[in-house]
């Protein structure tokens, strides 16, 4: 309950009656309908649901990459567009999307160059975030010299480089195998604990959502909407084997129920 109160005190992301309709040739598509959600500072919120449920669309709306057609959405008390201009968040995509012509350090430096950080500060920040994602010493390598998991870690470092308070992650580990994924999940939690960022995390893996989140937002399609918001009762400190505890399994069960209720698998 304490957690919830703090959310009330400092809402970082606030959605009230948010709807988003795409006009297509086959008529309107309701990607989001009546979404109400408050994300507090330091929350780790996962969005889970089948494809077409609008979880990615909602994350993109927060990032001002899509624009809601209804309702009110604020980030740090500003419109998403203003928040983007204020560089309020770092965004991690499903693919690492590193520039092949830049070294790892060069890739992490990219946002810093664009945002006009001084050369000395660029160097310092690159070193800092590379060590944050355990990639010290890989700065001079080119992306193709790194494994997929390492590339995704570099892309997380890139999103962290300019020290935005919010980290938005769109299925960042979706393309990786389960062993790598487990390790990155564990590292992401450590990183979250160290930096205290607010994280929005889109996934379609129930264990991943339960393992990582303080809150799990269950969504369902046609129209994309929230069907359940689950507050995690797991402690912040989470070793990987917490996934075998009854508490974990109970939360996972509730997520599964929520998914089933919202979506008849027709």
């Amino acid at each position: 309950m304490m957690k919830d109160l703090s959310s009330m005190a400092a809402p970082v992301i606030e959605a009230q009656g948010v709807g988003l309709t795409f006009e297509t040739n086959d008529g309107p598509v309701h990607a989001l309908k009546d979404v109400n959600l408050t994300i507090g500072r330091g929350d780790f919120v996962s969005f889970i649901g089948p494809s077409g449920c609008g979880k990615t669309t909602f994350l993109r709306a927060i990032a001002a990459l899509e624009h809601p057609t209804e309702g009110r959405l604020t980030v740090n008390g500003m419109t998403p567009d203003k928040a983007r201009q204020a560089r309020a968040y770092g965004y991690v995509f499903q693919a690492a999307g590193l520039y092949p012509w830049r070294t790892i350090a060069g890739n992490v430096k990219l946002p810093l160059e664009i945002m006009g950080f001084s050369r000395a500060e660029q160097e310092e920040r690159v070193q800092k975030v590379l060590s944050l994602v355990d990639l010290e010493g890989f700065g001079k390598k080119f992306p193709w010299q790194l494994s997929g998991g390492m590339q995704q870690r570099a892309s997380i470092a890139r999103a962290l480089a300019f020290d935005a308070d919010i980290l938005l992650m769109d299925e960042p580990f979706g393309a990786l195998d389960e062993i790598v994924r487990d390790r990155l999940n564990e590292e992401l939690l450590k990183l979250w604990a160290r930096t205290g960022k607010t994280i929005g995390f889109v996934t379609h893996s129930i264990p991943e959502a339960v393992y990582l989140s303080t809150r799990i937002v269950v969504m369902s399609p046609r129209p994309g909407r929230i069907t359940d918001v689950i507050e995690s009762t797991l402690p912040r400190e989470r070793p990987l084997d917490i996934r075998d505890t009854p508490e974990f399994i109970a939360i996972a069960h509730r997520v599964r129920e929520g998914l089933r209720a919202g979506h008849s698998y027709d």
Binding site: A64, R84, R87, G90, F93, G97, W101, T103, I114, W144
Partner: protein, 288 residues
């Protein structure tokens, strides 16, 4: 290395056999004519011999062309008007100037097309139309118009050469500048990057492999343009002029020697661009 030498030699040998055969066949009419006029009968050996060293053969045999090339390249002072090196240099300088203009124009138009909706809709059809007009029809007009403005010499040829070479660069660069996918563009949007930053940090580096592919086509087209630019108005210098004067005086050996000089020049130019490509992409980390 050795594995590729044998196939190349085999193909070369096949070409030589076909060439000698064709030369005997095409040049024999003249040999028969000569013999008939002198009232001689020709044996097969006589026919073959008679086709190998004619003054004005329909198709010169390879060793005649080789000798013509050798005389043109090594047998003259390079300042001589009979030197293929001198003529080659004249053509090369127009080619390089035209290539520079054409590449600059192609890149500039591509940047405009990618950044401006109106240019996107209007420029490409004109660019395509420009390439459907035979260059042979345009070249004399360019020469005449520019000459009436007092511009002669290198520049008119370079303009024709640029006219041919801007197009592949334009097409390649439009594709290259649009190569970044939606995700990469979204990423820069999340940094609130300006379109100038998007261009310099993403679009331009991403277009490099496309640029070099079209530069290789462009430089060969530039050479063709420069040669065509030398044909009208009776130019007296350049490989095009050698081709033209050769055809005026029936000097088929001279024509073929000039053709081979042009082909060699084109091959060297494409190789140089390829070398620059490899070095650049390697330094950019894009070649493995």
């Amino acid at each position: 290395m050795m594995r590729s030498v044998l196939p190349i030699l085999t193909v070369l040998a096949a070409i030589l056999v076909v060439w000698y055969g064709a030369a005997v066949w095409l040049n024999s009419a003249w040999a028969y004519d000569q013999a008939a006029r002198e009232g001689r009968e020709l044996t097969l050996v006589d026919v073959v011999n008679g086709t190998m060293a004619q003054e004005r053969p329909v198709l010169p045999v390879p060793h005649q062309v080789a000798k013509g090339l050798w005389d043109g390249v090594a047998g003259q002072k390079i300042t001589s008007k009979r030197s293929l090196v001198w003529h080659g240099w004249v053509t090369l300088s127009a080619t390089l100037l035209g290539f520079a203009i054409g590449t600059g124009l192609g890149i500039a138009l591509a940047v405009g097309i990618v950044h401006n909706k109106a240019m996107d809709l209007s420029v490409m059809p004109w660019a395509i139309a420009s390439q459907t007009i035979p260059i042979l029809a345009i070249a004399p007009m360019v020469i005449v118009v520019l000459a009436s403005l007092g511009v002669t010499g290198l520049l008119p040829k370079a303009v024709i050469s640029a006219y041919l070479s801007f197009f592949p660069v334009l097409v390649g660069m439009v594709k290259g500048l649009r190569a970044p996918d939606g995700m990469q563009l979204d990423l820069l949007k999340t940094y609130n990057a300006s379109s100038a930053a998007t261009f310099w940090k993403l679009r331009l580096p991403a277009s490099m492999p496309y640029l070099f592919a079209s530069l290789k086509v462009g430089i060969a087209a530039s050479l063709v343009g420069a040669i065509v630019g030398e044909l009208p108005a009776g130019a007296t210098a350049g490989l095009g002029a050698r081709l033209l004067s050769g055809s005026y005086y029936g000097q088929t050996v001279q024509i073929w020697a000039a053709l081979f000089a042009a082909a060699t020049l084109a091959a060297v130019l494409v190789m140089v661009v390829g070398l620059i490509e490899r070095v650049t992409l390697k330094r950019m980390g894009m070649a493995r």
